[in-house]
Each structure stands twice: as C-alpha cells, then as structure tokens.
C-alpha cells in the first residue's frame, strides 16, 4: 500500500511539472508577450522596455525555471494589468469558483444518482427513458447557450432570479444548474451501469431470498458497491467543472477565478493566465490522485496493479 501511494504521488508530481512546462511553452511560443502587453500603436522602444522590465529577453528555460521556483513558494509574479501580486488576486477569487464547483457537483449528484438508480431498478421503463433523454440532452446542450436560455426564462420572462453578479446565494443558482447539468450524464450512466451489474450479482439474490425489504437491499447492499466508481469519477468531474467555469462565470459575472482568467486573457495579462492554468491543472491532478487513493482504499484489488 505504501509503495502504491508513493508511486501515484510521484506520477502526479511528474504530470504537474510536465503540464506546467507545456503550458508555459505554449503561451510563450504563441507570440511575443511584450508586444501584447504594450498594446497597439506602441513604439519599438516601449516594447523593448517592457521586454527587459518583465524579463522576456532571457532564454525560455531560464524564465521557466525562475517562474517555477517562484510558483513553488506561492509567488506567481506580478499581474501586468493590476500591478499587484498574482497570488493575491487568485486568493481573492478562488473561493467563489470552488464554491460554485462544489454546489454544481452536489446538484449533479443529487440529480444523477437517484435517476441512475431508478433507471437501473426499472430498465427500459419510462424512468429509464427519461434518464436517457436527460443525458442525451445534457451532452448536446452548449453550456453557454443553456446559460443564456436560463437567463431569458428565469430572469426575463419570470423574474425570479438575478441575471448576473455574485452578492447573494440566489446569484449562484443558475450557474450551479448550468455547470452541474453538464456533469450529470456521465454520473448517471456510471450509476446506472454500476447498479445493473451489482443487482445481477449473487449476494443481492441472497439478500432478497432472505426476505429483506427491497429498499433495504437497494440502499444497504447494492448502493454501497455501485457508487464506488461514481465517487472517484466525481473528483474528475469536479476538475472539469472548474475548467468549464471560465465560460459560465463570464456569462453570469461571477467574480471567480474563471472570470479572472477570461479577463486576464483579454488584457494579455500572461502571469495571471499562467498561474490560473497551473492552479486548475494542479487541482485536477490532486483530485485525480485523491480519486485513485479513495478507490484503492475502498477496493483492495486495485492496489496490486
């Protein structure tokens, strides 16, 4: 078990390093950041000044090494737009995004798991069809369009909710629905197939044969094993949702890290964009690691491989 954990942690660290290097390279290779910061109509001297001021004139690998050394100490450089340290900006915005992500995941699980379980208990019934329909719908709805449609319905036609902002909990309802619905199909399919598999197994037949109440069999015996893959998959979905928050937060004007990323991209604020990409990848890698470890803890068979 210890070797397994160490191996997984080592792999996660390698992946995080590789991803940070790649994204650094991609953003720098994509163009001269000095020109982007200087903006249109800047003179050659201005650009040269910015290049030296931010250190863009040195070799890439040196810049990366310096940036990484800083990032490891929680120092992501200075925002070229706000002129404040990037880590302060992120510390201010990250809680909003994490809150949105957690609420969305909760929404997705509350919607998807009961539907998936019911669909598995009554295969090919109306509920099963409804679950399938919802998951087909969820995979094809462009999330930014869904967000706008919800605004039209819930803020314009029936003014129940505020269309944008983040001052009250009502502001979080629509973004939560949009982001959570996006994760629903995957969780529902996993729950359904997991339940179908477990319900066909011998120990469930035994439990039923003993005359246990069907609800007890379902909740105490079947669900415990069926939700295993869902638990680890939820961590992955959480990572995806944080990535998807870029679009949703900019539509609903939620002051989270996604909106910060979007604004920083339009302002060519490279240090901030770089830091957010790194943090989102780190969160994803960390969640993946957590999912793997939870699975290994719950299911000893996985530890061998």
């Amino acid at each position: 078990m210890h070797i397994f954990i160490l191996k997984r942690i080592g792999l996660a660290i390698l992946v995080a390093l590789f991803v940070s290097f790649l994204s650094f390279l991609m953003l720098r290779a994509a163009g001269d950041p000095a020109i982007a910061i200087a903006g249109e109509g800047a003179s050659e001297a201005d650009i040269e000044y910015i290049r030296i001021r931010f250190g863009f004139d040195r070799p890439l690998i040196v810049q990366y090494g310096e940036w990484l050394a800083g990032a490891l100490q929680g120092n992501f450089g200075t925002s070229t737009y706000f002129s404040t340290p990037v880590h302060e900006l992120i510390a201010e915005r990250l809680p909003v995004t994490l809150r949105l992500g957690a609420m969305s995941l909760l929404f997705a699980i509350l919607l998807a798991m009961p539907l998936g379980i019911l669909a598995a208990v009554h295969p090919n019934s109306i509920i099963d069809r409804l679950a399938l329909f919802l998951s087909v719908l969820g995979q094809a709805l462009p999330n930014f369009w869904f967000a706008l449609v919800l605004i039209v319905i819930l803020a314009v036609w029936w003014p129940l909710l505020p269309p944008s902002g983040n001052s009250t909990w009502q502001h979080f309802i629509m973004p939560t629905i949009v982001l959570g619905y996006y994760a629903t199909p995957a969780i529902m399919r996993l729950t359904r197939s997991g339940m179908l598999e477990v319900l066909g197994s011998d120990y469930i037949r035994t439990a039923r044969a003993k005359g246990l109440h069907p609800v007890q069999v379902l909740v105490k015996h079947a669900m415990r094993n069926a939700v295993l893959p869902v638990v680890s998959h939820s961590t992955v979905q959480f990572g995806y949702m944080l990535g998807g928050s870029v679009i949703i937060e900019s539509i609903y004007a939620l002051h989270g890290i996604g909106q910060l990323a979007w604004e920083s991209i339009s302002r060519a604020d490279l240090p901030t964009v770089q830091a957010i990409i790194l943090i989102l990848s780190l969160i994803y890698v960390g969640l993946n690691l957590a999912g793997d470890l939870i699975n290994a803890w719950l299911d000893p068979r996985i530890r061998v491989t």
Binding site: L11, L14, V15, A16, F18, V19, L22, S23, M26, L27, A30, G31, P33, A36, V136, L137, Q139, A140, L141, P142, N143, F144, W145, L148, V149, I151, V152, V156, R189, R192, S193, G239, L242, G243, G244, V246, I247, S250, A261, W262, I265, S266, A268, V273, I276, I277, L280, S281, Y284, V285, N288
Partner: protein, 302 residues
C-alpha cells in the same frame, strides 16, 4: 413452412446464416437513436452544401434599415426574412445556413487532425507496450490534466484568432479520446493469431499496423470520431461565443449567439435560433455515434 423432406430443406437458401453486413444493417434499421442521428446529420450536411442555392440573401450583406426584424411567425415578420434579421440587418436564415458549413468544416477538420495524432499515439502505445506505452500514457494523462478551454482561449488570444487557427487548436487539444480507445483496442488484439502470423511472415511493423491492425480497430475509432467531432463543434462555438474563435463577419453559430446576447431581453430569438441549430447538430452526431457503438458491438452497451 411446409417442407416435405429433410434433404430438400438443406438446399434452401434462407437457411444460410445471414452475413455480418446484413446483421449490422438490420440492427441499424431498428435503432431509433441511430436513425434519428443519421437523418439529422444528413439533413444538416445537405442544407450546408446547398446553402448557396437555398440562402435567400447574402449572409454578410448589411441592411441597416432592416435591423432586428422578427421571424415570420412573430408579429411584424415577413417572408422576405423568414428567420428575421440581426442587429446589422443581415438575413438570419442565410447566416444560419452558411453557419452550418462553418460548424461542419471545423468539426470534420479538427476531428481529422486529432484522429491522426490520437490514433498514432494510441496504436504505438498499445502495440509496442513497455517504455513506449509508459511515455505515451504519461502524455495522455498530462493532456487530460490541462484545462483545455482556458488554454485554447489563451492561445487564440495571443496568436490572433482565425478559422485555420481554431481548427489547429482544437485538433491538437482533442486527441485524447482517440489515443485512449486506440490504445485499449490495440492491446486487446495485439497477440491475436492473425497478427502473430503476419509477424512471423516477417511483415514490417508499419505495414502490419497499417494493413492488419488498423482495419480491425476502425469500428471503435469511428465511434470516437463522431463524438470528438461533436466535441470540437461545441468547443468552437464556445470559443466563437467568447470572441476568440471564428471572427466576424463570418456567420459562426457561436458568434451569432454572442452577437444576439446584447438583445437578450427583447429579441430572444436571436440566441434561440442558432442555439437550437447547434443543439440539433451536436445531438444528431452524438446519437449517431452512440448508435454506431451499439450496432458494431452490442455486447459493449452500457
């Protein structure tokens, strides 16, 4: 059936087992998702190809005197602009038809690029195993850990966005599905007898992969191809919506939704129409992909 003797019965043609192709065709005819998906996608492809014939107006021609006209079914709409006009007086139906061309072009091109990258990586990893597999699996894991929406946006913003760039970005970001499926399918048949036979005949590895292995994993890859095409179309529309994808005045559906966003309160059809088109296209492709998976491997259904 009234057959007299058993000898006679043996010669009856209908006792031959149906060919695999016939089985697949019969499954296809009875799969409603597959039928809906292929009809929907076929219809959209036809409309897109026939856009120059069908479009009543030039999709980028502005007419500021006829701004924001509603569709024909609403109040003051007329048949000259069936779906109304946008904020610059451009005919919405014409833009929608040409937009279908753009979505399909981007979806198919990005799918081809990502298919080449992903299949190559996946097959190499599955076929050679060992260190090669270790390295490629590591690359796949790293790719999965990247926030692709953010990276696509950042790269597009720095490069200055264009149609070609969007296709390249999507192609280079969406190959993970191909790689994962190609790898696992290759692993499954790597030690099959027919590959062993080809190997012992001294066939070079590249020929063996190209002519023996790939034809046998193509079904799984086609399913991924449809799903990744849908993925690429959705991502393109999101990039265009945020202003970093296809640039105006091209009629990308995502861009049309972005432009209609400012008129959300009084002219909601401006976002409803392109959004519904996008939704139908993506749903058709997804249903087609799911259907293909069920048809080619019904035992793999989940």
């Amino acid at each position: 059936m009234t057959v007299q003797s058993t000898e006679f019965e043996l010669d009856l043609p209908e006792h031959e087992a149906p060919s695999p192709r016939a089985i697949v065709l019969r499954r296809a005819r009875h799969h409603s998702g597959f039928l809906f998906g292929s009809c929907g996608l076929g219809l959209i492809i036809l409309l897109a190809l026939a856009a120059p014939l069908l479009a009543p107006h030039n999709p980028i021609e502005q007419n500021l005197l006829a701004r924001l006209q509603p569709p024909v079914w609403a109040g003051t709409g007329d048949w000259n602009h069936v779906l109304g006009t946008d904020q610059l007086g451009r005919d919405y139906l014409s833009r929608l038809l040409y937009g279908a061309q753009l979505s399909l072009l981007i979806g198919i091109s990005a799918m081809i690029i990502s298919g080449l990258i992903g299949t190559l990586l996946g097959v190499l990893a599955g076929y050679f195993g060992g260190r090669v597999d270790l390295v490629i699996t590591f690359i796949i894991t790293s790719r999965l850990s990247m926030p692709i929406v953010l990276i696509a946006l950042a790269v597009a913003a720095i490069f200055g966005s264009s149609l070609q760039l969007v296709i390249v970005i999507l192609g280079f970001l969406l190959w993970d599905g191909f790689a994962i499926v190609a790898r696992s399918s290759t692993l499954q048949i790597r030690d099959a007898d027919f590959l062993l036979a080809a190997r012992s005949l001294g066939m070079p590895a590249w020929r063996l992969i190209l002519f023996e292995l790939l034809p046998n994993i193509k079904d799984a890859l086609i399913v991924v191809a449809t799903l990744e095409m849908a993925h690429a179309i959705l991502l393109e529309s999101a990039l265009s919506f945020l202003g970093l994808g296809v640039q105006p005045p091209r009629p990308s559906w995502g861009l049309m939704i972005a432009e209609g966003k400012d008129y959300l309160f009084f002219e909601p059809w401006l976002i409803m129409i392109p959004g519904a088109a996008l939704f139908l296209l993506v749903m058709s492709i997804n249903l087609l992909g799911d259907g293909l998976r069920d048809i080619s491997a019904p035992e793999g259904r989940s």
